[in-house]
Amino acid sequence: MDQPSILDFRSGTSFAPVLVLHSNDLEKIEQQLVEKIASAPGFFENSPVLFDLSELNENGSKTDVGALVSLFRKLSLFPVGMRGGDTSQEKRALELFIPIDSGRSRNDALLPGIHKEDKASSLEIPTVIREAVRVPAMVITQPVRSGQRIYASGDLIIMTQVSAGAEIMAEGNIHVYNTMRGRALAGVQGDTATRFFCLDLQAELVSIAGIYKTSEDLKGTPRKKPVQVCLRDQALIVEELS
């Protein structure tokens, strides 16, 4: 009775660029599409595309859905949906097996490199720029004792000694203006440009962005002298400050 299910529906999202048309002039559309495709053939070849006619319909410009779909297919684009069409356009789309998308239009984010103003656009690889949010440094004026833990989401400045068995952590740099005997972990979210500074390095462990040295490895480092610890070529460097 119970047949094993050979299919199931799952919720999922897939990606298709939305093509918003500002003109119903098929010749111009073709010309510009060819340019765009030429700028990033790998991206557009056999790409699904959802086209949006809402702007044209608002302006009262009639668009022939059949001709538009043929044009897309000619340029090896796969129209997978239409939005913003009127009743007759929707009917025509369904005849061509193009589903109607009722999702929001206009508010779709412009894809990088496909800006409407940008005539000579090319598809740039978007670079993620770390948001420069300024987190004020945490300043500690009481001795950090064994067993205490301090976490700063920016820089951490400690004016007193840090005892053995204490742990100080920061997403940014760490400065200790006294003797450092505990564990110090700078750049705990992976920032390899962070540094650690102290006036006397007797630490149990020093780590920058997860790369660490224990006191065993720190034996040969200068004592009772101000030092900095930083990363160079994936290696933790301890050097005296002069």
Partner: protein, 269 residues
Amino acid sequence: MARIIVVTSGKGGVGKTTTSAAIAMGLAKRGHKTAVIDFDVGLRNLDLIMGCERRVVYDFVNVINGEANLNQALIRDKNCNQLYILPASQTRDKDALNLEGVGRVLEELSKDFKYIVCDSPAGIERGAYLAMYYADDAFVVTNPEVSSVRDSDRMLGILASKSRRAELNMEPIKEYLLLTRYDPNRVESGEMLSLGDVQEILSLHLLGVIPESKSVLNASNSGIPVILDEKSDAGQAYADVVARYLGEKRPLRFIDSKKGFLRKLFGGK
């Protein structure tokens, strides 16, 4: 209002109870009405060191639970009528104490007494936490060896972050270092940390150095706080500690090795 002093260390066997008994006696001898409370419920010792174990009827836990009132439980010391002892219960454990109950007892004592000395159990768990929570001053008892120093450091961290004064953002607990069982000869031979080493690690206000002394054990065995043994070096050192705590200036004693002194005298090896 009374001043509440906690005698604490983290590590066991460093001389907390000896110190509690000595300084409580020292303060009382100077005419300040003083109470000393044993927080080491289940491992009660203070009554032995104070020589009042035969007179214990009610204890700290009885008072907290409302089974006895404070006057019934307080034992007046036989050597000094300004000193009272509140013993711990031997048949219970630390869970018998609670923050609210301890607070109530200390508040009631505060009306009558000038100083309240809380003898903390070892460790950093409930008993030690309750002993230090309401403190105004902390005597951190440390032996000149690394594990004791580390544990004291840990306790200092707890004093700075978990006490009532820390939680209410009041002026922090005043922390004093008391270095006990100090043997200048063993320091010189490198077997013990020196006063300087300990101070470098803990950087605390030093209240005194108590030398390793046979008189401490003798005093404990006879149930008389060592401070009453005025001829002994440890007794004198504790008297200095009490004087310094009360604001007098006393030079540090018993920190130089006798051998060193003789060596200097005779110029030989």
